[in-house]
């Protein structure tokens, strides 16, 4: 097991290099550089040249990439030209807000998707099954921004129940529990959007996984030896049906941090999403590069965790 993990981590290195090169090449196509951006418009030509020299922007693109790589290997992702802070500190400031939002909605997704999927599978072709599958089709097909705008229009504008944007009431001095309540109040609508748009996939997966297990021979055996239907379903079938779902949850880990750019943008949730948007709008290339690399590394880690948990929960995999 340990050898397997070490080998997997080592194969991640060339993949990360490849990803960073591709993202860097996209930047290399852009006209101008980080110094050309609007934030430095007042600078003299000489000061700009000096800044370019400092940031190695006067070097060929390939050399710039090597400089970036050298820094990144020490954990130094460069300096954001828009926030005027180090890229890692900007990411660290905002990524946790995305994480809280993502974590809560993932918990809600698990709590809804798994029971609904199980019941839909055990009562296949019932009213409940078809209703939930119609809902799943709509939820997986509706664009997140459209759900967000509909919810804002209905809950915030018509009913004035929830705030439209932000994470806390502006100028609020609340502390402790009152502050948490205020944050929850602001979080509810983006949370709802994330939950609606991501619940369908796991629900459908759970249903088909459960259907597959129910048709297995050992379930027939369990029924034949006279076990109660509840025991058959929840003890014998559910445990096995959950295995692929656990893997699937490993893949959602990057999504926890990476957040949902569009949803966070609509609700001005101060997570990594709006930061990505601002970085792109202001051509803050070091920050863009850093965020993209974080997303890529999180995806790789998610895959790794998925594979490891799969081996942990399913002994059959380990034997191979």
């Amino acid at each position: 097991m340990r050898q397997y993990v070490i080998r997997r981590v080592l194969t991640m290195i060339p993949i990360i290099l490849g990803i960073s090169l591709i993202i860097f090449l996209i930047f290399a196509m852009a006209p101008g550089d980080a110094v050309t951006g609007g934030a430095n418009a007042h600078m003299t030509v000489a000061a700009k040249a000096q800044l370019r020299h400092q940031m190695h922007l006067d070097q060929p693109k390939l050399v710039q990439y090597l400089y970036w790589l050298k820094g990144a290997s020490h954990g130094d992702l460069g300096t954001s030209t828009f926030y005027k802070k180090s890229v890692s500190s900007v990411i660290n400031t905002f990524i946790w807000n995305s994480f809280y939002l993502g974590l809560l909605s993932t918990i809600a997704v698990i709590l809804i998707a798994i029971p609904v999927g199980v019941v839909a599978a055990t009562k296949q072709y019932s009213m409940f099954d078809s209703t939930s599958s119609v809902f799943a089709f709509i939820a997986m097909s509706i664009p997140d921004f459209f759900v967000g705008l509909l919810l804002i229009s209905f809950f915030s504008m018509n009913l004035s129940l929830f705030p439209v944007s932000g994470m806390e009431t502006i100028g609020s001095t609340a502390t402790g529990f009152a502050r948490i309540l205020d944050i929850m109040h602001h979080m509810f609508l983006p949370f709802l959007v994330l939950t609606i748009t991501s619940v369908a996939g796991i629900m459908k997966y759970m249903r088909s996984s459960m259907l597959e297990v129910i048709s297995e021979d050992y379930i027939r055996t369990a029924r034949a030896k006279g076990l109660r239907e509840k025991v058959v379903i929840y003890k014998h079938a559910l445990r096995n049906a959950l295995i692929p779902i656990i893997t699937l949850l490993g893949f959602t880990i990057p999504g926890l941090f990476a957040g949902a750019i569009i949803t966070e943008q609509i609700f001005s949730w101060p997570g990594i999403g709006p930061v990505t948007y601002l970085a792109v709008l202001n051509r803050d290339y070091p920050l863009c590069m850093g965020i993209n690399m974080i997303y890529a590394v999180l995806t790789l880690l998610g895959n790794l965790i998925a594979d490891i948990t799969y081996a942990v929960v399913d002994p059959r995999i380990r034997l191979k």
Partner: protein, 308 residues
């Protein structure tokens, strides 16, 4: 005796009937029985027809500005009202449909060509070629799609790409970012098909590699290609509309469904002019739902184990 002969004839006739059914016909017969999938197909065809022919039949020009009638409410003259520049909204929604659907279909076409091509080559040759292609798959499947598309969108603004040409770049980039999943599936399928007896026969006949790959192996992977292509159209349309909603995809004056929803940026106009953003949003929803229903129906219809 005679009756036996007759029943024998009948059986023969029945047998002939079954022989005539090609796999495609069989799948279509199963698909037609699936009411939900058929509903999806009918909705998609209606949306396609309206998007293609609607702008031609419409009395209004998509770009004709009428400053005397801005943000007009829906009426008999303008069925979906007019936008902030007095342009007929229905015409714009129909025209936007052309763009969004074209981006959806053609980016999937690129995805299929790249993904299937590389998947067949990797699975057939194996060895070092397979390793190289699979490492490429690993790299491309970890690229964060939306942030990269946002960067490309900003790049297009910087390079001053004409708005009407942006859709072609989007098709290309969305296609090039989404092929790894299909490539993996096809490779896995080819790996197992390669060991079948008929491939040994093909080998014995001395067929060329390309003929073996694309004439004998590829048709047997058609089912997974068709299903994942159908589902891919939906996600490509969602990606494009999200990007255009952020103002980094297809941009004004060329409309796409996502860009139309974005045109009401502030909360007040969101509330006052629902006809400007709700129709485009519903169009995206209907299109993606129907594409997903078709994909699901195709999966069942093409699965030989699945009988309706």
């Amino acid at each position: 005796m005679e009756s036996k002969l007759q029943s024998g004839n009948q059986m023969e006739k029945k047998y002939e009937d079954e022989v005539v059914m090609s796999p495609a016909k069989l799948a279509w017969k199963k698909f037609k029985k699936n009411k939900i999938a058929m509903t999806g197909l009918i909705i998609l065809v209606i949306i396609l027809l309206i998007s293609i022919f609607g702008p031609i039949l419409s009395p209004y020009n998509m770009a004709a500005i009428d400053l005397t009638n801005t943000t007009g409410e829906p009426s008999l003259v303008h069925l979906l009202g007019t936008d902030a520049s007095g342009r007929d909204n229905l015409t714009r929604v129909m025209y936007a449909g052309r763009i969004s659907l074209a981006v959806g279909f053609f980016s999937v076409l690129i995805q299929v060509v790249v993904g299937v091509g590389l998947g067949v080559i990797a699975g057939y040759y194996g060895g070092i070629i397979d390793s190289i292609i699979m490492r490429l798959v690993d790299i491309f499947s970890c690229l964060p799609t939306l942030p990269i598309l946002m960067m490309i969108g900003a790049l297009m603004l910087d390079l001053k790409v004409r708005p009407e040409n942006k859709m072609y770049f989007l098709m290309l980039i969305i296609g090039l970012l989404s092929w790894p999943g299909l490539c993996r599936l096809v490779r896995g399928e080819i790996l197992s098909l390669r060991e079948k007896e008929y491939m040994q026969a093909a080998e014995a006949l001395g067929l060329k590699d390309s003929r073996k790959m694309f004439k004998h192996l590829l048709p047997n992977t058609a089912a997974i290609i068709i299903v994942s292509a159908a589902l891919g159209v939906g996600s490509a349309i969602l990606t494009e509309s999200g990007l255009s909603f952020l103002g980094l995809g297809v941009t004004v004056p060329t409309p796409s469904w996502g860009a139309l929803v974005q045109s009401v940026s502030d909360m007040d106009s969101l509330q006052s002019y629902p006809w400007l953003w709700i129709p485009a949003g519903i169009c995206i929803l209907l299109t993606v739902v129907s594409v997903n229903l078709i994909g699901d129906g195709l999966r069942d219809a093409l699965d030989p184990k699945h009988n309706i």
